[in-house]
Symmetry: C2
Subunit: 231 residues, 2 copies
């Protein structure tokens, strides 16, 4: 069996961590990935409804259909394993509802930024977990999540919104920073499912996992930079 390793995203080889012992079981992993993507789809649905113009609604609809396609493929993987997608997603519903409340924002543009940033961070994280899980399913899911469904559409929509109203920059920059912590908590909860008797002590685990989160935050910062939201 290959030893699953965290894909190094940065230049530094220090971000290479043996992720194997924190890798969740396949079915709970798929359930959480499907629940997280349903949450992203729901946020996109709310942004679509809240967006004021037909043009923006149309743009969001393209991102939404890509995220839905990804979510439906995750559900199909669960079904192919003869498991019940609803039952596997349900344990994550409450935490995601809490996240939804925190991540809604005060405006459709903040909500859209939530969709873009949370899909990015959580997509990256679940892609790495899928790589760690390996096997046919893990590889397929990693490839699926690597496609960053809807990300480019969302980036363009956000860029247009910022161009149309440069005043937005500071409030969106603040909003993006606020999101990081809550989104990392959702990611971390996927690791909490690992309950193998041989797992390292909590302290060691934190130290081992830290580079993964450092890299997630670095990718988040690159997304923010890409939108000029670093001020």
């Amino acid at each position: 069996m290959e030893i699953p390793r965290l894909k190094a995203r940065g230049e530094s080889s220090a971000t290479k961590v043996d992720f194997a012992e924190y890798t969740p079981e396949l079915l709970p992993f798929l359930g959480q990935a499907a629940a997280v993507h349903l949450e992203v789809a729901e946020n996109l649905a709310r942004a679509l409804a809240a967006a004021p113009s037909l043009e923006t609604k149309q743009g969001i609809s393209y991102a939404a259909s890509q995220v839905l396609a990804t979510q439906h493929k995750l559900v199909a993987e669960i079904r192919a394993l003869h498991a019940d997608p609803d039952a596997l997603m349900r344990p994550f519903a409450e935490a995601l509802e809490r996240y939804r409340t925190l991540a809604t924002g005060s405006d459709w543009r903040e909500l859209l930024l939530t969709c873009y940033l949370s899909a990015g961070m959580l997509g990256d994280f679940f892609e790495q977990l899928a790589r760690g899980i390996g096997g046919d399913v893990g590889k397929r899911v990693a490839t699926l999540l690597a496609a960053d469904a809807g990300a480019e559409e969302l980036r363009q929509l956000l860029q247009s919104a910022i161009n149309a109203d440069p005043q937005l920059t500071s409030s969106l920059a603040m909003w993006g920073r606020r999101l990081v912590g809550d989104t990392l908590l959702v990611a971390r909860s996927a690791l909490a499912n690992v309950d193998s008797p041989g797992s390292a002590a909590h302290h060691a685990a934190e130290a081992n996992i830290e580079p993964v989160f450092t890299e997630l935050i670095a990718a988040h910062t690159r997304r923010m930079d890409g939108l000029g939201l670093t001020a």
Copy 2:
């Protein structure tokens, strides 16, 4: 050129009407069809966000992705004709916004019934117009709309909601009846775009078009009956 005729849906040949003179131009037609389907998608998005359980959200997500796929194909037909989808949809935005306010309902189950019934009636109507328009595009669009995107998923979700709460029957039955008038107005507005100099007088047009609306209402009643909502 073939003479476009209303597809007879009932048994009676009396419902066969020469629809040609009320048929809108291709581009405004595609714009309105795309706008109407974006509206249905938006209502589904709101229902997805409003639905209380993960299972229902998941179910609605399947209907939503089918409606989005249909809407995106309509937009692709517009683009293939080198026209601007946003500009062609915009004239219908205000009327659809008014419709949205009327058709929201007081509860996610009423909103879901709106999605099912309005997609059904408007889908049927635009399918018939597409048939009247004819040509390659008209035929492709008629086939696309004949597929009733998401209808079976929505019917099942509504049936489950009614089974879970039989008290719903009377309020949903009333809601379904209330929707008819406003939905027919949206359909009728597609005909109002016809402004050909040789068009029949308003009075004659009403008489000619009536059988089409009678058949739309009959199909609506069959959908209601199918859900046990006739009481």
